[in-house]
């Protein structure tokens, strides 16, 4: 057992730390999403120029070929320094890895480079209005027409669809096959008449995600990834990639939030002292710090296991569940500490810490829904880790 970094990993961390510090573009603009995306595009170009975009990707495809630990170090350090996310986050975390794992040589040549530069933004067309957690029940149809597929249907919760050039689309190509077998994974060009997007406004007031309507949209046969009828397997790889890379960034982000929360407690007055003097808040703060530490250590254990076996196990579901709970708990505690001032947000001159926690509280409501609901994660844990029988 050794919870320290090796000298070469330590050196890598110093390199990452120094580069990020010198090149940090500052906080994201508080303006429109367009301005934010432009800011993130610029940041991604900078990352790419220095070889940090696609750090997990093999070198032959323009990535860095970093080890799992190096990825963890990079993601953790970036989160610690609160660098912006790159504009093409879905392309980097999911699109590229799927093309690398399942794509043809031609697809690799065509798609990977513009993902890395951020020139082409990617979005993910999985969920539908009638198919959320039960993803495999999706109804969007793709029908072969010569060397093209004609797609009709609707997708939802499609983050950054309004900026995307490519959509990772899962559609039903064989309505007679069992539900997991009749699906195919496509790369759909968003810039065509048959594709319309409509933004959805979140409870925070922002509009990151969209509905996507497809009315006889066209996809060339060459844009099938992983073969017709294999869409489920290809999609699962995407989701696994989504979870594996995020753990260490999530941990650093939680630690940043916890530091802020602890400072908040030392600043807000309560019972003649500050909240940090109040035994009730002290107990809750301590519990959150303890849980954050168990999450960090669980991630180390998970990383060790992944290095031994080569694939992330279903235990990753525990971490995502825990992260969602923790992030929600800590924003809830922040509002509790703020007491009567809890409703005041960013625009108010009396808001505590400029209303930062109000946004966090609202945004974190999605944590137990996005990327696999906590309820579904518990099913996965029960069935695949504990071996309990399936209800279905």
């Amino acid at each position: 057992m050794d919870l320290t970094l090796s000298p070469s990993e330590e050196e890598f961390r110093e390199e990452v730390r120094g580069w990020l510090r010198e090149n940090h573009p500052g906080p994201e603009p508080e303006g429109s999403l367009d301005e934010v995306m432009a800011f993130r595009s610029e940041w991604q170009l900078k990352l790419h120029a220095a070889g940090w975009a696609g750090i997990s990707w093999p070198k032959e495809y323009g990535g860095r070929g970093a080890t799992l630990i190096e990825q963890a170090i990079f993601v953790g350090e970036a989160a610690r320094q609160e660098t912006p996310s790159p504009a093409n986050v879905l392309g980097l975390a999911m699109g590229g890895p799927v093309v690398i794992a399942h794509g043809t040589e031609e697809q690799k040549q065509r798609y990977l480079e513009p993902i890395l530069t951020g020139e082409e933004i990617w979005c993910q067309g999985f969920s539908e209005p009638e198919s959320g957690s039960d993803l495999a029940s999706l109804k969007t149809r793709a029908v072969k027409d010569g060397d093209e597929w004609v797609v009709t249907g609707q997708k939802v919760w499609t983050t950054f669809a309004q900026y995307a050039k490519w959509c990772m689309l899962v559609a039903r190509t064989d309505p007679d096959a069992p539900k997991h077998q009749g699906l195919t994974y496509f790369l759909m060009d968003m810039e065509q008449e048959g594709v319309q997007t409509r933004p959805l406004v979140q409870i925070t007031g922002e509009g990151e995600f969209n509905e996507v309507f497809m009315e006889e949209a066209r996809i060339p046969d060459a844009n099938v990834v992983g073969g017709v009828g294999n869409g489920w397997g290809v999609a699962i790889t995407t989701l696994m990639n989504e979870r594996a890379g995020l753990a260490f960034g999530a941990i650093a982000q939680i630690q940043n939030s916890l530091s802020r929360l602890t400072r908040l407690a030392t600043e807000v007055r309560s019972n003649g002292g500050t909240a940090a003097d109040d035994s009730y808040y002290r107990q809750r703060l301590a519990q959150l710090h303890i849980e954050a530490e168990t999450m960090r250590l669980n991630a180390y254990r998970g990383l060790t296991k992944t290095m031994q076996s080569g694939i992330p196990g279903p235990e990753g579901s525990l971490g995502k569940w825990q992260w969602a709970d923790l992030n929600q708990d800590l924003t809830e505690l922040a509002l509790e500490i703020e007491g009567a001032y809890a409703p005041l947000g960013r625009g108010s001159q009396h808001a505590i810490q400029n209303g930062a926690w109000q946004y966090g509280f609202l945004r974190s409501r999605a944590n137990s829904i996005e990327g696999g609901t906590t309820d579904i994660l518990k099913n996965i844990i029960a069935e695949r880790v504990l071996g309990l029988p399936r209800l279905r």
Binding site: M1, D2, S259
Partner: protein, 374 residues
């Protein structure tokens, strides 16, 4: 970065697992629980032969010289088996003697403790006190070159089988008193956990010669305290793991409404929660154990985190397991109640979750101005 057991530690784990599983089957635990002193003399001898009595004690004094990670591995298995054994109390005194005793004292007392020939237990908390870490009130009255002890110590583990008590006084010093000393009386208390007995020990005019007082001041016992917290938290983790496994296996077998109850999410999600708590406890324990061996500056915080988390998980997981079992889980006939009781008793000992969380709060609030590190 490698967060897993080494091959040697895996070997300790599987040896402990197999030995304890064969020796402490349900009937044997019940036999011991019903016996007068709950002491298994033959089992103790075998544990001594396996080297467990001196596992984390220096080789120089007859121990195995292994680390706290190894000790945690052993205690997790002891908890898993719910083995009735005075190993915890004996280990605490061993660790204290190793760190805080003089060479003469180590030669005279640590050797037999490490070899298991003598059994020792700490007698720390004073009757009427809150019995939380650090505060002792018994005064040692000066008497020639030694002292005289008067008073009553409570919550003393495994007193019935102990040959030696390590007694704390108000100045934070520790004194060794042999069981047969004049003025020592042991009275077993009624406690919910009948697989680890708690007693009160009265000291009436008990004379302690200078040679039996450990030279170290109070603060030198903190490293011992953190290590025993880890051992105790490891035991609670083993308890949680076993209770979770019992629930999962029952949920697969038990049929209601034509299906195994584990197919219902009300039950399966409860089991998932049990896994989360067990794995969190485990990570906290091994993280702290590693700190004890390799990064002592992180030990105090890590040990309090582990003890706080495992204190809760150690009884909540058996509690949830009882709920999964339904009525049968509430019977004396089923073994689960022994796990609940041990877990709850462990939660109370050597600083409960609230006490340790307060220490965590103190540490994290003190460094509130510093940036986070990963």
């Amino acid at each position: 970065m490698y967060f897993d057991l080494t091959d040697e530690q895996q070997a300790i784990k599987s040896t402990a697992h197999d030995f304890l599983a064969s020796r402490y089957k349900s009937e044997r635990i019940r036999e011991l629980a019903a016996s007068e002193d709950c002491f298994d003399a033959d089992g103790w001898k075998e544990m001594a032969e396996l080297g467990w009595t001196g596992l984390a004690l220096p080789e120089q004094w007859g121990g195995q010289g292994l680390g706290i990670v190894d000790l945690a591995v052993l205690f997790e298995e002891l908890g898993y088996a719910l083995a009735p054994s005075p190993l915890l109390s004996n280990t605490i005194v061993g660790l204290a003697l190793a760190r805080c005793g003089s060479d003469e004292q180590r030669d005279r007392w640590l050797r037999p403790v490490a070899s298991g020939e003598q059994l020792a237990t700490p007698a720390l908390w004073d009757a009427g006190s809150p019995a939380s870490p650090g505060g002792f009130s018994m005064e040692g009255r000066a008497d020639g070159d030694g002292i005289v002890l008067d008073g009553e110590k409570v919550l003393v583990m495994d007193a019935a089988s102990a040959d030696l008590f390590m007694v704390a006084t108000a100045d934070g010093r520790r004194h060794l008193v042999e069981r047969g000393a004049v003025g020592v009386t042991v009275r077993e208390e009624d406690s919910i956990d009948i697989t680890r007995r708690l007693s009160s020990v009265r000291f009436e005019g008990v004379r302690v010669g200078a040679a039996a007082t450990l030279p170290a001041p109070a603060e030198d016992y903190f490293p011992v305290f953190f290590r025993l917290c880890i051992a105790l938290a490891a035991e609670s983790t083993g308890i949680a793991r076993r209770a979770m496994e019992m629930a999962v296996s029952y949920a697969k077998d038990r049929q209601q409404f034509g299906r195994p109850i584990g197919a219902y999410q009300a039950v399966s999600h409860r089991c998932a929660q049990m896994l989360l708590e067990t794995e969190n406890a485990r990570s906290a324990v091994y993280g702290a154990a590693w700190a004890a061996d390799a990064e002592p500056e992180s030990l105090p915080l890590a040990a309090s985190m582990a003890k706080a988390y495992a204190s809760d998980a150690g009884w909540r997981v058996p509690d949830a397991s009882i709920q999964v079992h339904g009525g049968i889980g509430f019977t004396w006939e089923h073994d689960l109640h022994f796990f609940l009781k041990r877990g709850r008793a462990n939660a109370a000992m050597f600083g409960d979750a609230k006490w340790h969380r307060e220490r965590v709060a103190e540490a994290v609030i003190a460094r509130a101005d510093q940036p986070a590190t990963v």
